[in-house]
């Protein structure tokens, strides 16, 4: 597998992680670089009437750490707070209680597009852009040059066997293909952390399994950490770690 060099601040993190892995420290991942550290984080939302006194808790309490190269499944029933936790870990949202830090990644404002990537449940491709252009988006947002972005995007598509559809438009893709492109987009910048929110939620089982195979294969041997929110236990069991969410409370277990 070829490595594309995208000159960003993220490169140093990847380099450190890769160095650590080459030094044989990977088996004890928990002692590696800490990408995210959440302490007693909670998130409430105001009710429909907007009153500050009527707050609905989406996430009651979550304490967890994500280390480089982690493969974590976040499972739990719908409405248990999985998406909220992912949003907080990815810096998309701010907790209403507790703290969250990204020791190896920097401040919340610098997380995206280069250090943390998202894969959403819904098709999230930009309709007027072709497949390869969609994959380029985070790279270009991260100020990569057009040539570098194109090379990295094509490489990412190659890694998930979608090179042949690079020029297609999202509306010409199947649901599975669209999600694979979203995965390629997440991989393209070689982020330190990929957060996937029910990425297979709208796919049939064989397609879902295939997508997951592709994702895990692409990440194999890289220091990129992966957290997947899912209620599909077959998917969850393929990851090394499983976290459980119940009624907004996170239970972390090995």
């Amino acid at each position: 597998m070829s490595q594309i060099h995208v000159p960003t601040e993220n490169s140093s993190i990847q380099a450190q992680t890769a160095q650590r892995m080459r030094a044989g420290t990977s088996p004890d991942k928990r002692s590696g670089l800490m990408l995210a550290d959440a302490q007693q984080v909670g998130r409430t939302y105001p009710t429909g009437n907007g009153s500050s006194s009527n707050q609905v808790p989406a996430l009651v309490s979550a304490t967890c750490q994500i280390m480089a190269s982690d493969r974590i499944a976040l499972v739990g029933p719908s409405g248990s707070g999985k998406s909220t936790l992912l949003h907080l870990l990815g810096g998309l949202d701010v907790p209403t209680s507790g703290t969250i830090n990204w020791p190896a990644l920097g401040g919340r404002e610098t997380l995206r597009p280069s250090r943390i990537a998202f894969v959403f449940q819904m098709p999230s491709l930009i309709a007027p852009l072709s497949v390869v252009e969609n994959v380029e988006v985070p790279l270009l947002l991260g100020k990569a040059s057009a040539d570098e972005a194109r090379a990295a995007a094509l490489d990412a598509l190659e890694r998930i066997e979608l090179r042949s559809i690079a020029d297609k438009l999202p509306e010409e893709l199947s649901g599975g293909q669209a999600q694979r492109v979203a995965v390629a987009r997440a991989l393209a910048y070689q982020p330190a952390l990929i957060l996937a929110d029910e990425p297979t939620g709208q796919l049939d089982r064989p397609t879902a399994q295939h997508l997951f195979d592709v994702l895990l294969n692409a990440l194999a041997g890289t220091p990129t950490a992966l957290v997947v929110a899912t209620h599909d236990l077959q998917i969850a069991e393929r990851l090394e770690t499983m976290w459980h969410m119940h009624h907004g409370i996170l239970e972390v277990s090995a």
Partner: protein, 886 residues
Amino acid sequence: MTLALLWFKGLLARHPARLVGAMFGVALTVALLASIGAFIAGSAASMTKRAIAAVPVDWQIQLNPGTDPQKVVAAITKATAYTALEQVGYADVVSLSATVGGTTQSTGAGKVLGLSPRYRQLFPAQLRPLIGPLDGVLVAQQTAANLHVTLGDSVTIERQGLPTVTVQVAGVADLPNSDSLFQAIGVPPGSAPQAPPDNVLILPAAQWHQLFDPQATAHPDSIYTQLHVQIAHTLPSSPGAAYTYVQALAHNVEAQIAGSATVGDNLAAQLDAARADALYAQVLFLFLGLPGIALGVLLTMAVAASGATRRRLEQALLRTRGTSIAQIIRLASSEALIVGGGGIALGVLLAYLAATFVAPAGAMQSTTSLWWTLAAALTGLVVALVAVLVPAWSQARSNTVASARAIVGRGVTPLWQRIYLDVILLIIAAVVFWRTASTGYQVVLAPEGVAASSVAYETFLAPLCLWLGGALLAMRLWRGGLLRGRAALTALLRPIAHGLAGMVAAALQRQRALITRGVVLVALAFSFAISTAAFNTTYNAQSRVDAQLTNGADVTVTAPAAAGLETRLAQLKALPGAGSVVAMQHRFAYVGNDLQDIFGIDAVHIGAATTMSNAFFGSGNAPATLQALAATPDGVLVAAETVKDFQLMPGDILNLRLQNARDHQYHMIPFHFIGIVREFPTAPKDSFLVANASYIAQQTGSAAAEVILMQAKSDPTALASSARTVVASLSGSKVSDLGTTQRAISSSLTAVDLHGLTQLELLFAVLLVAAATGLIMALGLAERRRIFAVLQALGAKRGQLGAFLWSEGLLILAGGALIGTVIGFGVAQMLVKLLTNVFDPPPEALAIPWTYLVVVAAAAIASTIVAILSAQATARRPVVEALRDI
């Protein structure tokens, strides 16, 4: 019913902008259409009023010899009410002569009128006192000049077959309407016009009877009597209907008196002329307004289309919950009715306000206007149904969501593009224009004296097809350009989008259907604004030229030769607000036996004081003709008719007889014919001459100037007022200004008050441009929100999101403005050409309304900025909230 109520409540709560936007579009359409109707009705009524007011005597009924006037009066009384009726005696005399200062002047054949003392009160426009009172014996101005007589002098009348009689001059008067006063009654329409007599005396009726009753016995054919009648003006409001009505009244009188008298129907003749103008005005109003109405419809449809994605989702939800297509259609119908009803109410209110503040008084109250309002309301309803119901119906019947999604994609070429509708429309425009040009731009056909009239409405297919064809061609070219010119677009957008330029260009390229729709909508709005403004500015400029032609200049001062007007030239030049001021001679010269006006000018400077249009001269080149005149001291410009009559060739010597100041006799003066003059400031419509003032002064021994032309730097009325004080002490002096003349011209369409309508249209046009440019951002709102949500989730910063919006806004605004400007000026040019006959003289070039263009551009830019900033504001929401749009 409950579902419909719920639906409506939901619409109001969730999509008020869409609902109000569509209502606004319908309202604009209804308001414009109803306003145009009000303006058409109002202007027709005011044209009728003006036509009536311009007639000094409605009917001149000429009695056959031996007819009892009382019988005719009885017939008139039976036919119609009247406000004035006077008997006027006309006598042909062999000659008039006068001995003044030891010399005797004689004229040729003349006319002597007998007027009752009440006549000048009842028909005040017929006599204008110049010197002395209006009682007693009056001499017409020209006759007084010919006989060299003034107050107290005696004039000898040589009656036919009777001894001469002498009368004493009590005053000198002008006969402003001598053409109609001395018209030949009963000649068939289209006969050659008869020139009024040069020599006229006016006697009190009693004296006239005393002197000419014996001549009536001796030579009955040399005496005739007319009844001058002013009928009660309770006429239909439109000139056409009024013409028919008045003509029927006159026929009724003629039928009653069975050939013993003939009605000279001046009122019908005047209404006849106004009829064609009214039709022109109607055509003008329609064709200035129609593009605006079309634009209103397009805007409504665009607003409705902006909700297509959401509507599709809502319909999908309803369908999955078991709602039938019929129920969905009923819901959409209720939405269409709400949009239509609200739009119509708002539109009628807007039209009423417009009519109240801008239109002629009472424009909205007439029956014609009411019909227009009803038609406008119906149109509004149809627009609402088409804009809201049809897409809903087609979406409801569409089986796949993807099929309805046409914003992005490689897409099929639209039908119009495949059948080259744009090219076909442009060819139609060219053919219709060419055909109209070949008929001399005869758009309105209202043959004189014939009640039937017609407008060649098909003529206006030319600008309409140019407008539509141009827009479609622009659409084709823009789509093609976006498809193939991504590299150029990327380069163009780099200053705005920086590193994202390529991506933004790609997105815009794929959204070319949407972008092109936006560009064309903006282009149509711009073209409407520009064509209306350019036409309006040209029209106003020509109206000014027309009025200048009649008045002479912004301010014109006239006085008899002896008054010494030229002595006040320096004072007039020094008046505040005076621009260029030049003196001009207005004398008379005999060309053979024909007495013509001759204007002595300063050919070098006259162009600074008043407009010297190319159309005034046979060469079509005013500067060259005036230069040639200045270079030929004894040069003379002659009317085409005279050139034909005398078979003149350039360089020929033309001997004219002009009055010499020393002996008051007409002496022959040689001139060189150098060119043809068609029209000239203050000149009459028939033949006249233009020569160098210095040569006339040298040859006649008098450098007196009878006319001073003044250019006003600001308000002509104020300058005229100052000028009046300067020349107040000069006997017989008169000052007229452009505004007064402009209001007084009633025979020309340029006097039609387009002001109100164009003001309204220009305002609408600015609103439409602002709405169109703003709306482009709303067109793909649902899609754009989704794209923004994804970009935000991927980490796009505010400036990067702005790159998409500003690039799109710039592309649409710049493209729309560019295309719209080209189409707008094209349509305006075509309209001006098609309406050549409206203008007298025709304009040489389009006038550019710079100020208005700046206002339109500013409105478009401001509207685009507001729309982009509003769209950016939606990107400022929390990312988690935006994620719901993915």
